[in-house]
Symmetry: C3
Subunit: 345 residues, 3 copies
């Protein structure tokens, strides 16, 4: 399994990495330990002591330094050994550090060439800037390859069948636009003159009796980083006068068959406590369908595919798969380019 | 692992496939969904939507049509797509159908070339025709290769050691005849002038004090389809005047290392309610030794064999293995013939 | 995975093999059944009937003979078939016997060429001769390769970090001598003028206020057979006047990734009941750090190494690794010599 390496992966929600604690997670089939320095800056190191390969996360965090649980070697936030309790520090005593950046309520990790780890390459999630938004966040572990999750989010026509409580047949019958813009893919669904269920109406503050123009716009960027804009307005009025609820759906491979699912929903800080409450409540509400409806089907798809690759199984592609196929092709091309560059180097 | 393909496998007991429900089972390492049409006819399809590989059994049965759980495509009993809720139906939108026949209280599936699926090739189990017999049925999942189960049933000399409650040493000391008749193998044990335990005596309605002539005749057909005729008569009288209890022991591979064990016992409908009661009680009684005595030993044998093949381990064959070896050779020859035909085609 | 074959492995503590019972354990990836003859002599056979591969340990022990659970074949302590209830005994009806010797409170097994199984090659553990010592024994199953356990015991500098209750920093700061003597490796730690925790002081019967000279000497022999001598004396006095507590740490691979950990601690029979009590109490006390501190870290190391070999991962070796590296090299050389001899034969 080849992963795209020179890209930012969401490693953890910012809130998962607590001050004074060692947090660990397997990412791209590598063990990673994460922690915060005293000044709050996040740090990521390979979770394996170079001496005898003990996981550092089982050790201790002493200020900005990690102590190995087995023989007490200490490493700083750059992975340099700063103490060998048993003698001089060998020059080779280093743990691999990974560039990390805290942004958009998350900690992003770069697992490729550190020299190319430009924070400006992080996919923007303006609606998760914590100074301006209350961001409700969640995490699920999915037993399926991460690209199956890209497929899931980029084609929301499944909502009618998989999430009966969340949507009417309007979603499926929507006008759909799948567009590639550089290396970004958009799948935009537009539902005109819809008569949606009450809770959707309430969400967009549209009184009973009035028809609704709704949209579900998904933005994808490699590797599997998606934003979902769910908007609604009284039918006929301009979109700009409507309300939009903004979600993140970001997937990081634990390995080829297991995926970290990071999801979030945002409400503006201008709403005050009401916004904080809605962020918490909404993210808790979202978890149910993600965990009880999407996860089982995506995992069943993975089991049904076995060891075969997606393309080898010759999927019957339909029009609504356009965006997901664009995304799969961009990702494949980028991975291939990395391989070719590595071979040429 | 190669399976014999052009043959009928027992897929499920007829009673397992309930009207209006989707039933699924893994057979020969393929996911299969089974259901009944409104007219009761059983249907089997590959349990994988051709679009994005979701298992159809997680969807809905709408009259004679299956709706995929993920995006709502519908397939009829022939595997043809009859509805694509998202647009026109692509001509490639088909699920693989499997020929199935309901006969002898079971649903039989043909996983090879459909053109060759002749129902007359189903191994006859006259004593399971539901119009004439009460048939008690059971199912166990065995973590062993199915041929180890053929070995088990074709050599009942193990009864004395593995099922102490069920048999005296008479079974082991019986006269044994192992015969190949075309592609059918018989292993017939005959015990003359036996003084069996009371419950066996009662089963054959032979009063205390009288000696018994007993027999245990097992008929095997490929792939692993066996009938067991257990008979008894007052010693010296003709067999025809005795009683016979008839069982089925049919094995279908789930995969190379796991096997569906279908067992049954029949009593004639002429016995009325008494026959129905005995079928139910007997099949429940049989389960205990199958589950608690045969299953553990056969699974332990499988673990002890590891990944090695039966022949590579050079089993020490004894006379009582004659029938099982005949069966293994017939099956191997039939699989080899299929391979050769496929290579030549 | 290649194991050293022509060597004695600890198969079980003598007390584990009870009279009249069949004991079984997987060793070097082979199933082994162990029992005692009526005269108490231990016996080891491959735990697999040559007929149809049932595990013999599921059968019966009848005096000095094992009866297979499946078809009742009987094998004597030399592995010869002595009864085939179904006919004559084929000359090939043999189970592989393994040489075993009961010595030092343990049963040792030889899994290589039986002609070379010289009991004098058993690594001496004088302090486990049951006539002179009370020996408390224990067993743990470790999910890691056995050489990681050699590493663990041969470098006790980990005590400070992994077993905070058991040792002060004195252990780490000790004078360390790593010596190879023939095919024996010693790692000797000497702590001069130590002020140890009370329970250590009590163990060595040194009154409060007095400084202690302590030592921890570990002796290794292939494959992974270690003795630990933990001694202490009032500082400045000769070692011979001090007390020594003697432990065994012996590891036998179940397979490449799972290891039997046999540990023991001895007290002289001259102590009478007090010695018996201390052996029992001490071995129970030892279990806690072995199970709750060493086992988790060694297993985490194994997981962190994945399928890679120790040397391929390029461990950062420190001075305290000298003894463990000597041991790894001796073992590798011995295995290589066996391979070469086998290839030349």
């Amino acid at each position: 399994m080849s992963y795209l390496l020179n890209t930012w992966y969401l490693a953890a929600w910012a809130s998962e990495i607590e001050t004074g604690k060692l947090f660990h997670r397997r990412l791209l089939d590598l063990a990673v330990v994460l922690f915060r320095k005293k000044d709050g800056t996040p740090v990521a190191l390979q979770d394996r002591c170079p001496h005898r390969f003990a996981p550092l996360h089982m050790g201790k965090l002493l200020d900005d330094v990690v102590q190995c649980p087995y023989h007490g070697l200490r490493f700083d936030s750059g992975g340099r050994c700063v103490l060998n309790p048993h003698g001089p520090i060998p020059s080779a005593a280093r743990v691999r550090p990974f560039p990390v950046v805290e942004r958009y309520s998350a900690v992003w990790i770069w697992m490729g060439d550190p020299a190319r780890a430009d924070p400006e390459l992080i996919v923007p999630f303006d609606f998760m800037v914590p100074e301006q938004w209350y961001v409700g966040t969640g995490h699920l572990l999915i037993h399926a390859n991460y690209e199956l999750e890209t497929d899931n989010i980029l084609d929301l026509s499944h909502i009618e069948f998989l999430h009966p409580l969340f949507a009417s047949e309007a979603v499926r019958a929507a006008q759909v636009q799948s567009v590639q813009d550089g290396e970004t893919v958009w799948c935009k669904r537009f539902m005109v003159r819809d008569d949606p269920p009450d809770f959707i109406r309430v969400g967009f503050q549209i009184p009973p009796g009035e028809l609704v123009d709704r949209w579900l716009d998904v933005r994808w960027n490699a590797p599997a980083t998606m934003a979902l804009y769910a908007g609604g307005v009284t039918s006929g009025r301009p979109r700009e006068s409507g309300l939009v609820v903004q979600q993140a759906h970001v997937f990081t491979p634990q390995n080829a068959t297991t995926t970290h699912y990071f999801y979030a929903i945002s409400f503006p800080r201008t709403l005050g406590e009401e916004g904080a409450r809605r962020a918490q409540e909404s993210v808790a509400t979202l978890r149910a369908p993600f965990e009880l409806e999407d996860k089982p089907i995506v995992e069943a798809v993975a089991r049904n595919m076995g060891d075969a690759s997606f393309w080898d199984l010759k999927p019957l592609l339909l029009q609504m798969d356009t965006a997901a196929v664009l995304a799969r092709r961009i990702l494949a091309k980028k991975i291939e380019a990395e391989r070719a560059a590595a071979a040429g180097a």
